[in-house]
Amino acid sequence: MKKSIIIIILIAIFVGIILLLDWPGVKDILSIQEEINHYSNLIEEKRELVSKTEQLKQAYDSKQEDIKKVYYVLPKEKQIPELIVQFEALASGNGLILEDLSIQKKKRAQETKKEEEQKTREAVLQEVETLKISLKVTGTYLSFESFLKTLESNVRIMDIQSIDFTSKESKEEESLFLNFDVELEAYYR
């Protein structure tokens, strides 16, 4: 009888050690090993990332001129003074008189979402802001055509939204002159 009691007590102690000490210990070790594996993968990824970033940085530094061009096309700021100068140069360079110019900021995100719904745009330009520009110029049709071509190939991208023109009702010598109202959009990020 005594022997049986002792065996039961000993088995209870054994089971207690296994359940309370060994098993939690094994679980802890497995958890740490899992964490180590995670860190090991992370280190590998980060090393690769650092190496790729280094390569990218070298490429970035060697293409500074091209990168500058990207920001001429799509500047980081509104650059309104530059726009005014550009329009003046574009008009006078093509034989037009710039009579009126207005520039307003317009939120682009909402509009592009709408456009995306209408499937006219393939991606949403979330980061892009738009400037709405209205200008009035006077000159001949041929001058205006030349102005349009120059504007279309301008470094800073602008998209005309509407064009409205009528013949100038004044002196005979000005009969070839037309009044052009143009609405366009310029972008920045």
């Binding site: 022997k3 054994f14 990207v70 096309v73 209408q118 990020r189």
Partner: protein, 186 residues
């Protein structure tokens, strides 16, 4: 002479008898197992400490690699990436109105003169163009309408008003709808 000769002292024999009455062979086996499990526990503690050291050194390496990151450059690169993506979309949708005028010039009948032009990009991408023109007679106007209708990039032509002009000939107002493709380039 039935007594056995024993070299084990009598006291010891008594203790052994007490132990053997309390502990069986199974008990010994369980005690060995207990000792083994304690030994395993000790091993686990030792191994856990070693792993914790390894983990700590791995964390240090990660911290070190994080310090090596050039966050300023990463931001610049991300910004450039975003700009290029946006630029791709903008360029794809860049409109060339000079192409519309070229098309209009080729489609205009020589006897027709347009005096007013009002054109705008619609939400669906098409271009609604309202024209006010002048011509010598109805036949030329009919030719003009036919010329527009036969063009593939024009999806609609509507005549709103036709009237006799103050200086002879006729004056008219028409609306021409151009397909969005006319302003886009490949």
């Amino acid at each position: 002479m039935s007594d056995e000769i024993s070299l084990i002292p009598g006291e010891y024999k008594g203790k052994k008898r007490i132990i053997s009455t309390l502990i069986s062979k199974w008990s010994v086996l369980v005690i060995i197992l207990i000792m083994l499990s304690l030994l395993i526990y000790g091993g686990l503690i030792f191994y856990k400490k070693e792993l914790e050291k390894d983990l700590s050194s791995f964390q240090d390496v990660v911290d070190e690699l994080n310090k090596k990151r050039d966050k300023d450059f990463e931001e610049r690169a991300m910004s450039l990436d975003g700009a290029l993506k946006d630029l791709k979309v903008i360029l794809k949708n860049h409109v060339y109105w000079s192409d519309l005028f070229s098309k209009l010039e080729t489609l205009t009948v020589p006897e027709v003169v347009f005096l007013e032009f009002d054109s705008a990009l619609e939400k669906d991408g098409s271009i609604k163009t309202e024209l006010k023109g002048q011509t010598a007679g109805y036949t030329y106007l009919a030719k003009q309408i036919r010329s527009f209708e036969q063009e593939q990039v024009i999806s609609g032509v509507e005549i709103e008003k036709i009237s006799l002009g103050t200086e002879g000939g006729i004056e008219f107002n028409m609306t021409v709808i151009f397909e969005k493709d006319v302003l886009l380039k490949e």
